[in-house]
Amino acid sequence: MTTPNGDGRPVGDDAHLNGRSVDSGPTGNETAGEAPLTAAAGGWHRAGGADLTRPKRKRRKGGGGWGGGNREAAMVPDAEFSSYYGRQIVKTPTWKNPEVPLYLFLGGAAGTSSVLGALAEFTGRPTLARNAEYAAAGAALGSVVLLIDDLGRPERFLHMLRVFKPTSPLSVGSYILSPFSAFTSAAAGVRLLELAPVLRTATTVLPFLPALTRFLPGLRKTSAVAAAAFGGPMATYTAVLLSNTAAPSWHEVHTELPYVFAGSAMAAGGGITMALTPVAEAGPSRKTALTGVALELFMINKVENGHGLLSEPYHEGKAGTLMRAAKTATVTGAAFTALLGRTRVGAVIGGTLLAAGSVMTRMGVFEAGIASTKDPKYIVIPQKERMAARKAGEAVAEDEARSVVR
């Protein structure tokens, strides 16, 4: 579009009288939500043509438009709407990428591993317990680093702990992550101390340690159980973290995302511990991973297909690519686990693929929410529909009230 008026028609062309939305163009495919608004608008529509603030790479349908172009390919039919020069309405989250998606992944993997580790402690699976506890501690410490790194003022991380706010998932999350990382580190730390060389080295600093060795297994098990108590919340609270925002494609799926993350966490935690542990002890990991995959695939289908326009970002662009890749990795990983999970090679391949699938699921969900903030259509159209539905509901209620009076 090079001329201000796009297709060069005179301002106020009759074709634009009714389609007052900035993007109407001559096609004028009115949506249900748009029609009643037209009458109140007095025939006004935005003058002028090309929207220079919009990224030029976006594909457009049709020859021209009246600014505010929002006509990129969509799986939902293009609806017309107005916007301020096509500019986004809500802000794009400032969270760093890939730090935050990786944090989401590590939190899930650590959460599942901690529960696996604690239960393995008491069911005679020492290798699984060891690996799960190390995995949980490593991932939890990684989470802490990523979360602090994401802050604009990392040195103020402890400000997170000066209040507790149930209305802030990040505050609640801080109170989940802090004890969780402390307990997982304690369990892993005690486990390290039980190794003879480590104990010898540590004794040079703390000479009283050998006297305490008989308490170490109990301390380790207690820490592992305490960590496991925070393992479940650690895996799912991050879904609330994303959903409790104004990013439309995150908020819309707020009752489904926690289950997606729970499933993804089980696939990741099960997969990682399965890959690290001899097959004889890794039965619970395999079962956990497979159940997680089933839950994840079932719930992600609802997220991707159940929300009309707001599901669209999960299919398009970078998010769509990641989501598709995640599904491929997850399904392949699950197949390896189910068929070859009782061989060492199969377990390693399957577990790695499951973990990779979980990483990409988190990245895909993250990118989809980001994308949904960048186009005003994801704000305006659903909110307009919500208003229209509410109005219709009120009209029905009024009718009913009237008929009752009569």
Partner: protein, 356 residues
Amino acid sequence: MTTVSSASPSLEGADSRNRLFGPLPDVSADAGYEEDHPSRVGFFTDTSVCIGCKACEVACKEWNTLPMDDSHGVLDQMGMSGMSYDNTGMLGANSWRHVSFIEQSRAVDLPMPTFGAPGADRHDHGQPASAISPQADSGLAAQTSVLNAEALSEFDPQTTVTGGAGDTQIRWLMSSDVCKHCTHAGCLDVCPTGALFRTEFGTVVVQGDICNGCGYCVSACPYGVIDVRKDDGRAFKCTMCYDRLTDGLQPACATACPTQSIQFGDLDELQARADARLATLKSQGVETARLYGRDESDGVGGVGAFFLLLDEPEVYGLPPDPIVTTRDLPAMWKAAATGAAMLVGVVASSFLGRKR
């Protein structure tokens, strides 16, 4: 005078009704202020008399010493947005007032008199000459005096006729956008440090020495107001000049506004004034006028800074039906708790059965 609670409202008090959304008669009391707190203040921005002078933007930048940025929030950049007279572009960490400019046109097959030179169609209404200049063309005078109720009855205040074209009419919508200081503020709800707090005036302010730049408020604001300043790392937004309010002054933008488009005062008083203004405009035939953010039963419980608009909110870059994201938080926590229990249950059950 009072104690400030930056902790979550839902932690205190027994009444769980309307703590997360819906009308709230006294936001300051809800935040923990005692009975003697000042009444809630706000802005009423009447865009029908905004002339787009940007005095509010300048006054705000000056008073709050906000850094320069371009229309995309890039610091220390000067650049034209290329879309209108609006080179501020958006609200953000460095722009706490933003005047939007929308040029609109319509064809004039509407029930209107014939058109000639600007204002020529006003002659036949017998409008008495304005006090500003008795000799002047009465239509021109009516257009000059936009605050004159008589003049308003003659035409949509921001309407003019394109000279010579003859078949179209052009109007400019100008609106000074600002932080809404919501009754249920998403930014305040999600802030994990307590840096954002409710003032005794019912406004929402960031404490710069507490904010650790987590950016959650940025994602939570349904209006896209608050943002993180890149080189600083912390979040910034309109404070409704908290420093000035505590000294009995009006906010800088309202003080600078030459047309009283930005009115500052006690919120209930402003609401009454806005209702009256809307009724006046409606009676004068400005059918497109509507109040935005006035309705206390909306998704954010009404806002402290509300607007009189002449078109749909989205035309001005405002969300048509904003909701505070924490309205749905109980459902989210429930799903997360169920998901967490499911995870533990699945892992536990995977240990059952034969030991392999």
